[in-house]
């Protein structure tokens, strides 16, 4: 039952797909359409002394993460995992993802975003971009994306990136906090997610591969390949980067929950999820202590039915799990524990067959 009074109505309405939630979604959509497809924000950015509209967007995005982050830290102040994790998210966003590139740009240096790795940001591995980027960034882009990210994923799970560093996850876990319970948990969504996220991954690999191959072979040598690579690159840019990660990912918060992008489309999440299955990260379940209340499932922003594992006394590592730790936080009986351990419960069998059969589960 919602709280009484107008404020109670509003709080409920906006977080339970009411009219205000739809209005908010509409407003966000309008904002994003203006941002991506017009130049109307440029004069506003300039009048604020910013270089271009993307700085303005970055500033707003950072503001949302900082304010949302402060709210989250206050809300979960007794949970040090949440406090530390959220502080890191705020720090990374306001430095690596905002002020560092901004300052570089002010000094006429190329803006680099150290916290966005391939394949979330696939263009950083396009050979043309690698060639034109500062050497330190080119090295970081390659080593960070191909080596460091998966290795950290093996040791700490995909959470090190998805819930500690990434700006998409960062926004979801801060400003998105009031909407996290809206993530659908149904079997149908699970089926969709399983295909969608891997299709985007394949697209990302294909695009990177084609663009790379075309560069290496040289467009003159193979104009057909070059034109395929070009059109794939721009299609991927429009569909995946702009529409799915830029627009849909945020616009749907009030309707579909946070992490719509992360869960269903993010290629980085897909790779790190598979890595996670073979790594140390898992959620441990305290035997027999679950009261099946369902708080964990309700508040899992990835739509994982955590209760199903908990009530069966089953430790688990789901590829989708971003290790936000909210299931652990909201569980009134302290049943769940995020941890990095090599030994696994004998119940958790992980064979290649099982992995393919269940795919992502």
């Amino acid at each position: 039952m919602r709280q009484k009074g107008t404020l109670g109505w509003l709080k409920h309405d906006v977080t339970h797909r009411g009219i205000t939630a739809w209005l908010l979604t509409g407003a966000l959509l309008a904002f994003y359409l203006v941002l991506y497809f017009t130049d109307w924000l440029t004069p506003i950015a300039k009048s604020l002394g910013l270089i271009h509209k993307w700085n303005l967007y970055g500033a707003l995005y950072t503001l949302a993460i900082v304010t949302g982050g402060i709210y989250v830290i206050a809300k979960y102040r007794d949970n040090r995992y949440q406090v530390i994790r959220t502080s890191v998210v705020i720090f990374v966003q306001s430095t690596l993802a905002f002020s560092v590139p901004y300052v570089l740009e002010l000094f006429n240096q190329p803006a680099v975003y150290l916290s966005y790795l391939w394949p979330l940001e696939i263009s950083i591995l396009y050979p043309k971009n690698l060639a034109s980027a500062p050497v330190y960034f080119a090295v970081w882009a390659v080593v960070g994306s191909i080596l460091i990210a998966p290795i950290l994923g093996i040791f700490y799970g995909k959470r090190w990136y998805c819930s500690w560093v990434c700006g998409c996850g960062g926004l979801a876990n801060t400003a998105g906090e009031p909407f996290r319970h809206l993530t659908p948990t149904s079997q149908g969504w699970w089926n969709f997610e399983k295909y969608a996220v891997h299709i985007t991954l394949v697209l990302a690999l294909l695009t990177t591969g084609l663009v790379g191959a075309s560069y290496l072979i040289g467009p003159e040598q193979s104009p057909v390949l070059a034109s395929y690579a070009n059109s794939l690159q721009s299609w991927y840019g429009l569909l995946v980067v702009t529409i799915l990660s830029g627009i849909v990912g945020v616009v749907l918060y009030p309707i579909g929950g946070t992490r719509v992008w992360c869960r269903n489309f993010c290629p980085m999440a897909a790779i790190l999820g598979l890595v996670q299955k073979f790594g140390r990260f898992r959620i441990r379940v305290k035997d027999d202590m679950c009261i099946s209340c369902g708080m964990c499932t309700t508040y899992c922003e990835m739509g994982i039915d955590v209760r199903e594992y908990a009530q069966n006394n089953q430790d688990f590592t789901r590829a989708a799990c971003v290790g936000c730790g909210l299931c652990e936080e909201v569980c009134p009986r302290g049943v769940l524990h995020l941890e990095n351990e090599w030994d696994r419960d004998p119940q958790e069998s992980l064979t290649m067959g099982a992995l393919l059969e269940e795919s992502y589960k």
Binding site: M1, N79, R80, Q82, G294, T298, R333, G334
Partner: protein, 426 residues
């Protein structure tokens, strides 16, 4: 074989799944009957629905198709008669039904006392046990500014928390001298009491409800306490415990033998042929004592064992070292073994974090063997504590290894070495 189960709570549903695990739909048809809800829901989460943290549907532990997939027929009806000789039951709406094996998993109902004025009050007195209770609470909360909650137990605190969430001024009447002596020692009881008060609740220790005063419309308008004070309220929550639901059985054709609950042996069989009972409603005969267990964990365990017993397995209920958990507003609670009713001569080690609501109590018997733990304000792995009790570890041994059983979140491990300690003999 037709398996009929009355009650779709955790005991009934666990039994149904257990039976289905063994027999497919050709060998066994399984029917679960309940008059409360269409689908099994988690009673323990009623408070979260009340506090807008979960939608009603989120309370259901299994997705609705699971019953279809498992070919478990769900019937929404009330069982009004049992004829064990004839192997049939009678439903209020749907008439007679035959069974081969019957499980009574009918749960418990709120305890109630007929205080003066209760009979004249038509509206405003609530419990928080069933889904219908939740409906009532929600309906009344819209027009409630002040409420009184009677009964300092686990459900009482939950009701208080819910009412505070809705901005209602709450007076909490607790009969005992400190909070919940049934589970806590004085130090912890007083800490919880202060914690509840810090949430803006008027906690009255040692005070009882004396009379209910209805208004002209029949809805409760005020109550008086045994000190004679009158406290205005538009809602009166009664949470003074639950009792096994046995009363309706008296008028059936073949009533099973009942005491505090439906009598069962350690394989959950009642004295009637082909009739079992499990969960909150049963009273289990262990030979030297009988027990009524009314918590989720026991109901779940009963249900599974009763299911096996109905399949013909040789079942002997052998309860593990007792454990339970709860949450008093923000303070998490884990208990293992024997604590509040520890025998005289036991020794207790009480540990408290300075300036924080974190305590631990370890109890050893006269032979210095650990028998119980009460842990508040931080998380513990009860399975390790249970193991130490089974292994009869001495106090110093346990105290030195306490950190092995901590279950706090990463980075959040409570620094046990900073706690104050005090040893006392009971």
């Amino acid at each position: 074989m037709d398996y009929t189960i009355v009650g779709n709570g955790v005991a009934g549903i666990e039994a149904a799944f257990k039976i289905r695990e063994r027999w497919g739909p050709e060998q066994a048809s399984i029917t679960v009957i309940s008059d409360e809800t269409d689908y099994f829901f988690s009673r323990t989460a009623l408070m979260y629905a009340y506090m807008n943290k979960m939608r009603r549907r989120d309370l259901e532990p299994h997705d609705r198709q699971a019953y279809e997939r498992q070919s478990i027929e769900l019937v929404r009806d009330r069982v009004v008669d049992i004829d064990a000789d004839d192997q049939s039951i009678t439903l209020r709406d749907d008439g007679r039904r035959d069974f081969d094996r019957l499980l009574l998993a009918v749960g418990a109902k709120p305890r109630m006392i007929q205080w003066p004025g209760v009979d004249e009050t038509d509206d405003g007195i609530v419990h928080l046990v069933s889904m219908q209770d939740l409906d009532e609470c929600e309906r009344l909360t819209w027009t409630t500014d002040e409420a009184v909650v009677v009964g300092g137990g686990l459900i009482g605190v939950e009701l208080v928390e819910c009412l505070r969430f809705h901005g209602v001024d709450v007076t909490f009447l607790v009969r005992e001298p400190y909070f919940w002596p049934a589970g806590l020692h004085r130090e912890e009881g007083e800490m919880i009491q202060q914690h509840i008060a810090s949430h803006g609740v008027d906690v009255r220790m040692g005070e009882e409800l004396a009379e209910v005063i209805p208004g002209s419309e029949g809805r409760v308008e005020a109550i008086t306490t045994d000190t004679g004070e009158e406290i205005p309220c538009q809602m009166l929550g009664i949470a003074i415990g639950v009792t096994p639901r046995t009363d309706w059985l008296d008028s059936t054709t073949t009533p099973p033998s009942c005491g505090r609950g439906i009598h069962v042996d350690r394989s959950f069989q009642t004295d009637l042929d082909n009739v079992w009972a499990a969960g909150d409603c049963c009273e289990i005969d262990f030979g030297d004592e009988t027990r009524v267990e009314t918590i989720w964990y026991t109901a779940e365990r009963h249900g599974r064992l009763a299911g096996l017993s109905m399949l013909g397995d040789d079942v002997t209920y052998d309860p593990p070292v007792f454990f339970n958990s709860s949450k008093f507003l923000d303070i998490e609670y884990t208990t293992v073994g024997t604590v509040a009713d520890a025998p005289d001569g036991s020794k207790t080690l009480f540990r408290r974090m300075p300036d924080e609501e974190i305590t631990q109590r370890i109890i050893v018997d006269e032979q210095d063997q650990v028998i119980g733990f009460n842990m508040l304000g931080s998380r513990w792995d009860h399975t390790i504590l249970q193991q130490w009790i089974r292994e009869r570890r001495p106090l110093d041994w346990v105290r030195d290894r306490l950190s092995n059983a901590q279950f706090d979140v990463e980075f959040g491990r409570v620094p046990l070495e900073r706690m104050n300690e005090e040893i006392r003999r009971l």
